[in-house]
């Protein structure tokens, strides 16, 4: 249905706005994770339109949901959490060196050195 896709577009745009405008580094990583969730939800919602049973083979002939988007999204979820973990490790190192989580303060301190 169209209203589901429009809500998912709003979620993607919200994540993009957060990534660009917010100044706290941890909130930027939150926004990246929200964008990831939006794309994964869009694929699964689109792939489930053509059937009404989970794609596990059984004896009777039923209409199954498309299994290809589900297999691709398994990989996408694991890669998303890897990116989040590595980004937060980088934020930790930045905080250790500059004692602040604000992007503008870090830029100012790095320019003054």
């Amino acid at each position: 249905m169209m209203i589901n896709r429009i809500l998912l577009l709003c979620l993607f745009l919200l994540g993009f706005y957060g990534l660009m405008v917010l100044k706290n580094l941890v909130k930027k990583v939150f926004a990246l994770s929200i964008q990831n969730s939006a794309v994964i939800l869009l694929f699964i919602v689109e792939g489930s339109r053509i059937g009404d049973h989970a794609p596990i083979l059984s004896e009777d002939q039923v209409r199954y949901v498309d299994p290809i988007p589900q297999a691709l999204m398994l990989t996408a979820i694991v890669v998303g959490i890897c990116v989040t973990a590595l980004a937060l490790a980088l934020v930790y190192r930045l905080y250790q060196k500059y004692e602040s989580l604000n992007v503008e303060e870090i830029q100012r301190k790095a320019n003054n050195e």
Binding site: M2, R5, I6, L8, L9, F12, L13, F16, Y17, M20, V21, E46, G47, R49, I50, G51, A54, P55, I56, L57, Y64, V65, D66, P67, I68, Q70, A71, L72, L74, T75, V78, V79, C82, V83, A85, L86, L88, A89, L90, Y92, R93
Partner: protein
């Protein structure tokens, strides 16, 4: 100023993505019909999602395993620092932190149940929902439960970080071995080799072996990351 640029770029992005979202288009059914008729015969798994990511697109699974290895290595290296630039943190139950009895008793008693569930999800991935990644992540959560409930165990867990490193390296070797074995039996490099032999050996053994190797790798990698982040120094 930044907010104005943010709103302008949001409008531009919605103008690009809008026509894709709003138009109605049918979702094609050819892929599902092909997998319905040929999935079990080619790979031997009745869970179609497992048949895809372990049979038809196993190369993506190998790539994802390498991404996980790179991320865990990078994060561990960044957190530990370049040597000993700061002193090792003391585990929280020695510092006198607020550790009530409820948490350590609940997690200490529930940890074997979670690990058993993780092994079940990993082992039966070919015929019910589950598989390598899911079982691996549940195993990592079980390891965190063991680390949280240490007071009630009254002895240290046998799975120290060094042993987890060894398990991870061994499972990587097992995955590489399983990738190369089909070459010796006459199939392509990532195909199920037991479909070519005949019906003497059940075909699901290859899928189960692959699932367990991936589950062990994912579980040990993520539990190293989780244990490092919880300051639980088993040994180092």
């Amino acid at each position: 100023m930044t907010k104005l640029m943010g709103i302008v770029s949001l409008l531009l992005l919605s103008a690009v993505l809008g026509p894709i979202i709003i138009t109605e288009h049918p979702w094609s059914q050819n892929a599902r019909d092909f997998l319905l008729h040929n999935g079990y015969r080619d790979t031997g798994a009745s869970n179609l999602v497992s048949a895809i990511y372990l049979g038809y697109r196993a190369y993506d699974t190998i790539g994802e395993t390498i991404v996980l290895l790179a991320a865990v290595t990078g994060a561990v290296f960044l957190i530990k620092g370049f040597g000993s630039s700061h002193q090792a943190p003391v585990p929280s139950y020695k510092r006198g932190a607020i550790r009530t009895n409820i948490i350590s008793m609940t997690t200490g008693k529930l940890a074997p149940v979670v690990m058993l569930f993780g092994w079940y999800v990993m082992f039966f991935g070919h015929q019910s929902p589950g598989g390598g990644f899911q079982g691996g992540v549940v195993l990592a959560s079980g390891m965190l439960f063991i680390a949280l409930g240490r007071e009630h165990h009254k002895r240290d867990s046998q799975l120290t970080k060094k042993r987890l490193h060894r398990i991870e390296v061994l499972s990587l070797w097992l995955i590489l071995l399983l990738v190369c074995i089909p070459l010796t039996l006459g199939a392509a490099i990532l195909e199920n080799p037991l479909t070519k032999i005949g019906d003497s050996i059940p075909r699901v053994i290859y899928i189960i072996g692959f699932n367990m190797a991936i589950g062990l790798k994912v579980g040990s990698g993520l539990s190293i990351l989780g244990l490092l982040m919880m300051d639980m120094q088993h040994d180092d």
